[in-house]
Symmetry: D3
Subunit: 214 residues, 6 copies
């Protein structure tokens, strides 16, 4: 019987996962992983953005989840401890092997808060944790992003763009294509492939795969 | 037909690999990897230390290599560019998927030089690179060691100690046991296992293993 | 007449001081210092945790203080400026020479907020400030902890464990023994003693003790 | 027709701009720039501090602005996203080429929050961003301040002190003179002038001025 | 009479300036600056690489200089103090306002040594200093590159590629085109232009240009 | 019988100790410590600089030592391992409790090499280690200097200047007075005294002095 492996992405807003790690999530889904996206905040247009989140995740082969709260809200409207408590439940239920989230040095305060909360929520979990580079243009972030970990997303880059395009309430859906392509090409050049996404490893247990046998 | 996977350790002195990453190398060998140790410098007692290096590597299930130079020498006796040229050959011949070396922030200048040379030698290679924590007592190193990557070596810790003990020309062989145990327990506690070795990931391509099928 | 010297610990929760710096506080008390612990938040079980805090501090030879608020609360329920105002009072009244607190890079947001508040509260005070390493297992903190300062707690380690055990409302009281022992051994090995606690010095005025005369 | 150039300072409290970057703002005003100061919080004595802010800015040749809220408040009383929204308006209206603000590593939490908000508010703007060193005495801040950028304020240092003195509700107005002089001398020595202010460059587009022609 | 402004690039090898900062140097030349490139080492094919260096510099509108030594050599063949002494002469003679060099964290040891030497050679000079990002593929460098300073090279990118192509003894001349384009697009996206080069500011004196008058 | 306490300064050149830590060494001597200065390199004017080193140390109440080599030489003329071997002897013979040296991030390569060598030489020693801020003007060093540790040298600042003045072969002796005063005032302001020297703590064992009794 196959043991299901689980990848979990946690991001502040409905399109952050597609923009920051969409190719990586699609690659995990394509390899047979169970992929989940937890979106922490629904800042406006509740119904529309719920639909977009579900559609974007669907394109990637993932399942979208939103905090169970009525209306719309911002990450900062919850204290971090309340957010940690929510994430505790997902971590306990989904038991992910790998968690992807945003970067605590990101210039967007909501992204940084989510990063802190995810770090806390993994305090009893053996999951590996990778943080995604900030995707804003004109980024004036607080510190250089310390890339350690690349994911070759060459075969999943079109899927990523299609997933980003699901968020048509956001200007990002239209204008980010060129931006995301430039970024993925740059990181791809670093590891010798067409397109890559870049992460900063916070903690991982190095697996030692057995060489495949025929 | 099985594709052989290759792990390469590059260290300044004959017992550095055993002390800094012996459990990790043993774990790779046990999983069927082809494991090589390149020792850069043979600072004294040529014949004895050659024998010790071969013995230590053998205990780990690895093969030891030494630079092809007569007599004894220190890392600093070679310019870094000559060392890089030597390493280029090994990297080209062994084609490792994973490289383990020492840390450029290590207080021992030879360790730091080896780290720099290995970084250069991988400039055309798709190998992942992990740096090992400095193992000296009384360590007054230049910066905090940024652990990202842990290897569970619980099942290989006795083998590691046995490999360290092969270097009986070194006081380390006698007195490091307690030191290495305290260190591996500490890192093990961090990831929830008995013994672990800790590394700083410099660059890696994240593999996405398919869930195993029955 | 002896000038009393004062050490002040400020931590987020009732057992944090015992876990993070219990040996250090016990060593100061044993050397004749006046030792105080300010606990910022009482998150649950008010009466029980008040008793535990008093008991733990007592074992260390210290006095516990809690913010004067009814009921239970989290650090985040106060704005940092309100917390700074409270700490201002303690700093002014106790006039500590040394302050120990948590680390601003700690993955637990409450610990990081306390660190920030303490830094602010010392803006007019000549106290030295040391930050303690985070004690969680599975720690996925934001940056490597920059140890500068070690305290040999070999003679006070049993007292520390006894103080931690006073917090029997917390699972920590049961399961942290092995964890704390591995950590203190590791740091002890670094400076050549049995058990040590590790701190990051934020600011200190180096004292120049006169050699003792017979 | 001359193209007006605009410099914008954003700080937490009414005297922060004068203390941290007063010479720099005066130098920009003297060179013909349009200089604006946005003060985020009015923590007490509303009418008096409004007058002081206007007077201090006036001495520097700048215009002071305060958030349009009744009464007094602290930075933390607004969520960061609300602050970003306010700053968005000023950035859009003033269209600054250069923005000066406080440092995200400052020990004062309000200063750090303002730094974060300004970073976010520039996400669509091509403005250069420079962060000012923290001016508190007894500073126990979270990390070393990474100076990159110096401004020679030798000809504007008296104006700066005069502007600081406008804030006579603050003890700073009296006691900071010697402190600010020591700081500006130190930084001046670094670049070979009498007095300098020091900044950390977050992002800039390097201009390439044409050599002047007669 | 126009005051000539001088930009100086110092790099380890003949094609480093073109690859790392060619667009920036071309932009300075186009704006009327006097632009000089000092190449520290001539590692092989003396005559050919001298010609290539002259040609590459010529395309950028700059003048190439090489250390006055016979034959070929590596950076490491000189002690850093001898290199500093050589650079002292150029700095004294050329009196640059801006200096561009390589990054001390670059994985190539020669690049790092040049960075150190340039830092020393500016100890008595009021020049601003900017370090260029490492251009190797498969870069496993020692730390994240801390970009602060961008130069819009959109109008000079073709000239840069033409200058790189002058170094046809190097494979870089052929294969770097795509790599350099991906890199410059990525940095361009960050500041909202087509192509940019990225630098880390070590020290600068902020100029305050007067708004232009008609 | 009084236990003598020993402070050891190790610096690259004859006037570095006086400039970087002269007040601190004088303060230790005044408190009854045995103070030694090891100067690693004698770059020129052998007899004159030997006399200056002895004179400068004498003013501070310290003893100067120079490596036992004929003629003049630079730090880089020795491999680091040879320097470590020399320092091993001094550390073993003098058995210092406190070691002061230069900073590994200093822009002067010799200073950085000495820092590395001292770190290595303390690998078996329980000495505390503090690094001094770089004293060059126009400093374009590699990273911000992370001050942790201040020494109040108000009562020893005149002695420091007198010791610097002993090195009259160096222009520093004449022009550094104002520079050193600005620096010491700045650091003094940080801890609330007239003059201070600033250090970065690499490793220390925190002493817990007993309150004095009458």
């Amino acid at each position: 019987m196959a043991m299901t492996k689980v990848a979990l992405a946690v991001t502040a807003h409905p399109d952050d996962a597609e923009i920051g790690m969409g190719g990586t999530l699609a690659a995990h889904a394509a390899a047979g992983w169970d992929v989940h996206i937890v979106v922490v905040s629904l800042p406006d247009q509740r119904e529309r953005r719920l639909r977009e989140a579900a559609a974007g995740a669907g394109v990637l082969g993932a399942t979208a989840h939103i905090l169970d709260r009525p209306g719309t809200w911002q990450v900062e409207d919850l204290p971090v401890y309340a957010l940690v408590r929510e994430l505790d439940t997902w971590v306990r239920d989904l038991r992910p092997q790998r968690v992807f989230t945003q970067w605590h040095g990101d210039a967007h305060n909501d992204h940084a808060l989510v990063a802190r909360a995810v770090g806390s929520a993994l305090r009893h979990s053996p999951a590996d944790l990778y943080l995604a580079e900030q995707a804003n243009q004109y980024a004036a972030s607080a510190a250089p992003f310390p890339v350690t970990t690349y994911v070759d997303v060459s075969e999943h880059f079109d899927v990523k763009l299609k997933a980003v395009a699901c968020h048509d309430s956001q200007s990002a859906a239209d204008t980010y294509t060129e931006h995301l392509r430039a970024r993925a090409r740059y990181h791809g050049e670093r590891i010798g492939c067409a397109f890559a996404e870049a992460f900063s490893c916070m903690v991982e247990r190095l697996e030692i795969p057995r060489p495949e046998t025929p």
